[in-house]
Symmetry: C2
Subunit: 520 residues, 2 copies
């Protein structure tokens, strides 16, 4: 069970079919594997050995695809970096994983050049420049990796480490999720099976490829021999152009993107009839959005998927049969669906025992998709995985038919535009501000992003601070998407539980009361 | 990755849906798992520990299904016995695998009683009687296994041994193919993916369940949460009755059974419109049969699958798109299809190097579906699997689109009515007959069975023997389906290769010349 098997099968069965298309570049599966084995050769020439980590910081493109496979072919471990991080966070990911080699495109080359200049990423020996314009002096041009020599597949597989995917953490620092070849391949089979994806698929990589959701879609499409298409990032017009030009059949988006697309006035100028499936995840689709989406894309069906990086990621899915407004499955799309074929789920109490149906507990998952562990964090790993069960940190209830409804995030996470934000991480930054006495960061409803970050702050007596100052301070220290969009101040102490923990459920109530009414 | 995970998922998602239906017995998934965990408890009470082997010799029924899962739940290894074996062969399988416990139905209880009485199966401590009529004195009634106590799942999985499937061998004796939990689960996912099987599937077990083909179908159906229906064995009228009564949607058959069904006059008396998919394997479907099948079952689609026990078993498949008589894929159903998603294939020369497309070589397969090895046959295993590649022993060529055409069986196997027959095994028996000088067993074309067994014999000078005597001698020693249906005698030496090996290709020619003309 190994990632690169799919490449060989595709060259064998579909040598002349499109593997990747980006802008005016198109490669067949035969051409693609030829390039990948050559890039792998050069990666090894740059001193990369089996199990060495290689990072990428770039927008979507065919070269991102080639990066994932050529590092795997060379036996190395890929480390996709979130493109929205602040420099100190990028620095942390690279140093924590001790990456030796880094691929970067023009959008991020300045950040990387500066980090390198300041000697903040000392493990990086070489930097490969992905873009087609002039290669900076201190970097290696991507095209130069393609020489006449090609490498043999190192044939890493099964429990060997394939990739490190960093995820935010309540401790204020990201941790590296170690995913094996088996994790990725089993997830690819589960994805393909649940959404009935086959060799005729034309998948558009519109959501960011550094994220496990689209990245897992990539491996699923390759596994069944479909074709990959890319836009640098999600912009409605680019999305419409690509769907109509390439006759895209399926893609994965977050509800925020679906919302942006279906409300964009340009949508009617394009023929989007080829689009048969949109998978979406991270948060439920608000009813007005799905109604509008079905109206604007009558040929399209929708799949609500739920998972997490630690689970490689797919855990549950609900397909077109639940995206209905009457009948026995009416509105079940508001659940995140049922356990997919290869995955075992339970809703458990604090002792790990299954709770009765309809009661809230934490989602536990078990199966061949569960991560190897957190990179160099034995203790955290042991806490997260107990007797093979991954404790997801997500609170949910399950109905009698097995549909899972997320009700709370035990780990106190905010999801804004599909990005996970751990409130503790933001709170830790705010607590660095002088005279902050108490602070609680929560998600508040937002039509565009699903949720946005809101900070509630109590200052010491006789001190004060402006909303703007808090937001500015955050922007200097963490990624923009994690920073509060709004701040409110209070004089009275925060409501706390018997154990002295701030009761965020209480703080959230005034913001969510209208929405909660709609859902229940 | 473990077999019993599917049971738990199905109880969680479809507790009240039919798991199994046989005659007038129906059990929901909840009832079924309840029974299985109780039977597992009793199996353990009978002294069965983790990794102990437990055999079954029975026709198809819901209890065969329960047997497979309750042995797995108890951590034991199931050993399905071919129902067409002669007593000495049954004896060999049981002794070779050192089974401690045996499940038998009324059709085979006399054979087993005799073997037990003659002390020929000494490792068997207990015998469970599966049928509902009076339980023989020396056996335990199946119903008595279901008490108030139930076992916890032993949670065997991944590379743990799940089942032993015996297969004929050129050495004249069967060998036990060790299949792991990963082997079975990966195959189940591949099957479900290639034939788009989902929770709405109603699968009829009509082909024998001891055979890996239907048994793998069983695990695939459970994996996606479908329902199981059973008839004791393939008889056209029983088949029609079950399809029409239970609204069966899919099944697996061998071409011989398809042929029998579509030419049976009863077929028009039943509503078979629910039947959407027939998988078939073991040999290509003769054109007149597929034409007739499409005419008689206009709602049904066909999938030609190829595999072997050692590969758990699925390797290639061609679906409805190849069951056409015009267009670019016309007649491709005569190939056995293309490598399925999780499997790596190549056609290799004697050194294991891939041959150019269109040239004949041996099929090599690699992937997580490849067996752990042959039971207690280290040397044979090392010969069969080289650097992860299973050498299938089947000769084939691959066209430019990746379709595989079986052209010869390197291991010299005859397939009659879906059963593998190793000619060497039959030859070894014939050589025991006095005055046999040379003997070659080959398959000759047969309208009903695809092939039948034919023996060519050269006797010592001045001796002779009747065709009937040869056939009778074989029937006393090996399963009926392996015995020659016809014998021809010759006075001249057999044609041999430079290395002195009998050239069976030459011997086959006069029998196959008309058929070969049709195919090429």
């Amino acid at each position: 069970m190994y990632i690169t098997q799919a490449l060989k099968r595709n060259v064998q069965l579909f040598p002349d079919k499109t593997a990747t298309a980006y802008m005016d570049r198109t490669f067949t599966w035969k051409e693609s594997l030829n390039r990948i084995s050559k890039i792998a050769f050069s990666i090894k020439e740059l001193g990369i050995s089996v199990e060495d980590r290689v990072a990428i910081l770039a927008h979507n493109s065919d070269r991102y695809f080639e990066f994932l496979y050529s590092t795997s072919w060379a036996g190395a471990v890929f480390v996709p970096i979130n493109t929205r991080l602040a420099p100190p966070e990028i620095e942390f990911w690279i140093n924590d994983s001790e990456c030796k080699l880094l691929f970067v495109d023009k959008n991020f080359s300045d950040i990387i050049s500066n980090l390198k200049k300041e000697n903040k990423i000392p493990t990086i020996k070489n930097i490969v420049y992905l873009s087609e314009d002039t290669c900076p002096d201190n970097m290696i041009s991507y095209d130069d990796l393609i020489t006449s020599q090609s490498a043999e597949d190192e044939l890493r597989g099964y429990d060997d480490l394939a990739g490190l995917f960093y995820t935010g953490g309540t401790t204020g620092r990201s941790k590296g999720v170690m995913l094996s070849h088996t994790n990725m391949v089993v997830d690819a089979l589960n994805c393909a099976l649940m959404a009935n994806i086959n060799e005729n698929a034309k998948w558009l990589h519109a959501a960011p490829m550094f994220h496990i959701a689209d990245c897992a879609g990539l491996f699923a499409i390759s596994q069944v021999g479909g074709s990959h298409y890319f836009i640098p990032g999600f912009i409605p017009k680019l999305f419409f152009e690509a769907v109509s030009k390439f006759k895209i059949t399926e893609t994965i988006l977050v509800p925020t993107m679906v919302n942006m697309a279906v409300h964009d006035s340009e949508i009617t100028n394009f023929d989007l009839n080829s689009l048969k499936k949109i998978m979406y995840g991270a948060s439920p689709m608000p009813e007005p959005v799905i109604v509008k989406a079905m109206e604007m894309l009558p040929n399209c069906t929708f799949y609500h998927a739920y998972g997490q990086t630690e689970c490689a990621p797919l855990l549950t899915c609900s397909g077109p049969e639940t995206h209905v407004f009457e009948g026995p499955l009416a509105y079940k799309f508001k659940s995140c669906g049922k356990a997919v074929a290869g995955v075992e789920l339970k809703i458990a109490d604090e002792d790990g025992n299954e709770v009765p149906r309809g009661e809230v507990g934490e989602i536990y998952a078990r199966g061949p998709n569960i991560m190897l562990g957190y990179w160099r964090q034995r203790e955290l790993t042991d806490k997260a995985i107990e007797k093979g069960w991954m404790k997801t940190g997500d609170g949910a209830k399950m109905d009698t038919e097995g549909y899972v409804f997320i009700v709370d995030r035990v780990k106190d996470m905010i999801i804004s535009g599909g990005e996970n934000i751990y409130s503790t991480e933001v709170e830790n930054i705010i607590y660095q501000i002088k005279d902050v006495l108490e602070c609680a960061v929560i998600g508040v409803p937002d039509n565009k992003w699903g949720e946005t970050v809101h900070a509630i702050i109590r200052m010491k007596k006789n001190t004060s601070i402006e909303e703007k100052d808090v937001i500015d301070y955050c922007h200097k220290n963490i990624a923009g998407f994690k920073c509060p969009k709004s701040v409110s101040f209070r004089d009275t102490p925060m409501p706390v539980s018997g154990a002295g923990k701030i009761l965020k459920t209480e703080l959230r109530k005034p913001f969510w009361k209208d929405i909660d009414k709609q859902v229940n």
